[in-house]
Amino acid sequence: MLTQHASESAIEQPRTGWWTRLFFSREVPYGLAIIRIYLPLVLLIDVLNRWRFARELFSTDGAPAPLADNFRYLNWLPVPAGTVAVAGYTALVFFLIASSLGWWTRVSLLAAAVLYPYFTLLDCMTTITKYTVISSHMLLVLALSNVGTVWSIDSRLRRRGERRLPWSLLNDDSRLCAVWPQRLIQFLLCAIYFGAAMTKLRTSSFLSGDQLRYWMLTHVNGPHPVGEYLTQFPLVLLLCALVTLVWEVVFPFVVSQPRTKWLTLGIGAVFHFMTVLTLGLFIFPQVMLAAYCSFLTDAEVQRIARFARRCRRRVAGFFHRHNLRFATWFAPGHRIATASTTAPSPWSVRAGAFAMSLAIFTLAGVELEYWMDPYGERGPNGPFPLKEMSQEKVEQLLEPVPLRQSDKFFSFDLGARVIGDHLVNYRRDFRPGETLFAQVCMNQPHEDMWLECTLADSDGKLLNRFGQVAMRESFRVYFSLPIDCALPAGEYNMVLSNAGEEIMRRRFNVLAADEKHTSSVAPAAN
């Protein structure tokens, strides 16, 4: 499936079976190296945020919430003691840093691939999510690959003493590796998008845009002002939902075509960036963008490198022409001066240094956590006292309140056009000959309801009354009112009622036939 964009180096391979061509053609793993560098740094944001609470989240000295409990597999994973959990979590921080640097790459990645999912599985409330799962997959695949052969401390140590420019290493055949790790990450991405599309297909209210509207009003993730603003434009949400669904379904097919690969990935990058602005997601998009790097072939990296070299020469020339002191920083030969010519240390010394660093880092973490006293038990006054809650607040919380009629409704809007089952141009001024649509948006759950719309003039005099049933599964119903000569120019009210109670009221104007629209157009419109 993904053979079409195998690199030029793969094309040079002798003709073999599809399995071999797909998984065992050889490339320099630049794409994987970018994932190896970037992914652990992204995960560190999450891991460091939780490090102070490691004892509470992941140990028997706290309140772990193993995911397996939700599946009714009690005691499926052992829960460590407090200090062991802190030591393990600190070691995870070390392994993620070492993985990013490419220091004992395989060992670091293997350890991270074990510790990271282990700790996430111990906290189903605030740690494990789908992006931690995707990251666990990628850490496992990276650990089994030869990703340390490029852009790593390991590769630099191995090549210590070789007096070569970094860019000349791009043509180094000794670093060619089988591409199966890239392919597995590519297949993983395809499965994720296809699975996500299946979820959306099974969620009918996603395809109407209603669930997106509620999601964009949900304050569970970070701030997302663009999403809140977009809730005013239901048709945009509907189109976004449909485009997302189509794109997720076709992703595996179009990303495998060389002509559409970059367009597909570009759309994906924009999509994930938009989830930052509209849904407040932060880590998830970065994990997915890291995974996109698996589609980079070594030929493409070489083209990017050539472009970067040209830019660098131009910048150096600019600085040189203007006699600036930074010119040497951009000179192509600048980095060779930093190349070391000392002989590499023996394997045992390097292993010892790594193990010693790990031990010191972990012990320092354990000591720091002890010193921070996360539960505040070793303070001068002993453990913290419990925080008291006000009696009134608790009594209020203990008093059940029946669902108000008004909270069964989300909004009541007037407009003149309905597209895709959404009112698209919210308006308050109507002209004779037009049709006024009154859209009632309802919150779920609600029972089958008889909704009544009353038309009244500015003095409150009843002019007309019409009603309809809103079924329990409905998110929206419409009332239509032709604006004709029976309604002379003036101000009117449309009043929504349910169960004898006025829910909302909207004022609108009927203009004279030759009168222009005034400024009382509702701002939210598509």
Partner: protein, 226 residues
């Protein structure tokens, strides 16, 4: 040899991804094992029209109430501003959070632990400037909320009361709004049935009844399986 090992790994890995996709697409076995979480991609599970915030409250012997989560030492803010216990959708772990706080704090003897929830329509979460463009009515200064007792535990964690989530309760009320359905339900339906379709675990009880307003008073009589 190495090539065979790698090929085997590739086959197993792709097989696992394919199995997860098939299960998810067909809606089967997705909850059969914790590892299914690693191969089922249900990122968009749906969001309700009501927002929720929960409180874990301890009642002392003196009658005073105490906040048991977050603990006095603070709480991890995983993604936004919500505390950890708000993400326990199934109410499986609130009691252990409460006991952890009690274990590490000074306090009078606690007689009961309450899990209380507040719910409100998400339309009130709309920023003020957007509210003004959309609604003629002024935004309420205080958001109207719905309180709900989700669970009550004894001092040692024994379950005294455990209710279905508030939204499920509301859906039950909607169903019970149909008098014919409610009457049919009253006739000879047991409240629980041992669910043979959920494996051999005897703790898998499936509630088969929904809210039935019998005397005009609000009463939820469908206990949770948790």
């Amino acid at each position: 040899m190495k090539r065979w090992l790698v090929s085997s790994f590739i086959a197993v890995y792709l097989g696992a991804l394919g199995f997860g996709l098939a299960c998810h697409t067909l809606g089967s076995y997705t909850g059969s094992h914790p590892l299914m979480y690693f191969v089922v991609w249900d990122m968009f599970c749906g969001w309700a029209s009501f927002a929720t915030e929960s409180h874990i409250v301890g009642e002392g012997e003196s009658g005073k109430y105490y906040e048991l989560s977050p603990g006095p030492w603070g709480d991890v803010k995983a993604w936004g501003t919500l505390d950890r216990h708000n993400f326990d959708a199934f109410n499986n772990h609130t009691c252990s959070i409460a006991h952890n706080t009690l274990r590490h704090t000074q306090h009078e003897p606690i007689t009961r632990i309450l899990v209380l929830e507040e719910h409100w329509s998400k339309k009130y979460d709309m920023p003020d400037h957007l509210w003004r463009t959309r609604f003629d009515e002024p935004k309420p200064a205080e958001i109207p909320k719905y309180s709900y007792l989700r669970a009550e535990y004894g001092p040692n964690g024994e379950i005294i009361r455990n209710h279905v989530p508030w939204l499920s309760n509301q859906f039950s009320r909607v169903m019970a709004d149909n008098p014919r359905l409610a009457a049919d339900q009253r006739r000879g339906k047991p409240l629980f049935v041992l669910d043979a379709f959920q494996g051999t675990n005897p703790s898998n009880f499936r509630p088969v009844a929904v809210f039935i307003p019998d005397d005009g008073k609000s009463r939820a009589n469908s206990p949770s399986t948790n």
